[in-house]
Symmetry: C2
Subunit: 259 residues, 2 copies
Amino acid sequence: MAKSKTHVSHRQYDDEESGWACMNWFEYMLVVVLASLLLLGALTLTLFWALYYAGGFAWTEEPARQFNLHPVLMVAGFITFSGFSLLLYRICRCCRRIYVKLFHTIFHALAIPCIVVGFIAVLDSHNLADPPIANFYSLHSWMGLVTMGLFALQFVVGFFSFLILLCCEGATAAFRASLVPIHASFGITTFMLAVATCLTGLTEKAFFKLSSKYSEMPEEGIIMNALAMVLVALGILLSYAVRREPFRTQVKTFVTERL
Amino acid sequence: MAKSKTHVSHRQYDDEESGWACMNWFEYMLVVVLASLLLLGALTLTLFWALYYAGGFAWTEEPARQFNLHPVLMVAGFITFSGFSLLLYRICRCCRRIYVKLFHTIFHALAIPCIVVGFIAVLDSHNLADPPIANFYSLHSWMGLVTMGLFALQFVVGFFSFLILLCCEGATAAFRASLVPIHASFGITTFMLAVATCLTGLTEKAFFKLSSKYSEMPEEGIIMNALAMVLVALGILLSYAVRREPFRTQVKTFVTERL
């Protein structure tokens, strides 16, 4: 379109373009910095809560303190590592597609031991308690199982489809292309589900631990609510970041390339 | 591309196209039917819980039963009405854009009285209880405030930008076009946040009402967990439906048209 216009309007068009690019760059940086701060903030707040208010960590010798590993490792795996993995895959503009893919996989792979140990920690802390505490009755535990199932499915499907199937690149291109939007959609959904599961877990813990004192807004309650608000902000920001058109458009070329 | 091919490959191409269209149509119908069933199912389960397990409804004369209006009306407003509104806007293929827009607005407008009365019901049930129960201390209440704020912002911005600004259609087209992806992104995020808020509310209620009996998996606990699973399924299904490429591509033409 610009080609058919005069020199002046052409320059004006270019100025507008660069104005937009500048705005997009500013927004892009803001989202990246804010999301990174929130992802690290969520983990820091959980660690602070576990160390300062819940007595730190232990293994099977002290089931009550072994429990504290559960929130910290689940937030590390499902929120911080997974969040960074989503973020860098969607908005990384500088590296070759295969490196971005590998980093995406590595971040998700780092989440796996966190989730496994976090899961064992809560099971142990229930089973070794005196008297033992029942497992899998609360809706938090049901949601946790669904989230872990979706996470595992996404990891296995993603690993085989987007890394292993690269060995016969040409033959599997159409299949991989059709899988990209499904994998992306379920990726952000798994993250949102993980956020929701953390929030129900926090609610449980706040009422178990603080009981009627919770309504008097003690320091610990405010820290737990603040952590919840950080998780809510992350849910809003990340689902915005992965869907924002300027980021998406930029990434669309990568995605087609990156099947 | 098909034009440059032979008659045979042209027909094959057409066959493939219609095969895909048929698959997409089947998937589309499956998503619509399943989402509608789940949206109505969530409301039915909440109503059933309120009537069968929680003693039905009352107004200020009986604060404990007035509370029961809160979950029912919040699920009706934030989940059922909002969910149908999202669904019909994103995937309605048969009507003129202005009708789809109006239905989208009407469904959201119907949610407003539900949310307002649901909010008053919980405030009353706290303030009129003997002794009164504190407000806005739990993370459920904080999340509720954020969700209501986002819902109100979306409604006001959507109403003015996509309906009122139509009066000067040409002049506001670029502005409205830039707002579409932001409104869509925050729309599904508000829905997911509403789902998460419902889940924390359900967790609170289950532990308050069932207390230690919850771990013995009573009938009421199973109903509450089942409601939570319906909400989780809705979160997964709706965020899939609004992002699925065949639906989106189809709708893309509408969206550009429908600024």
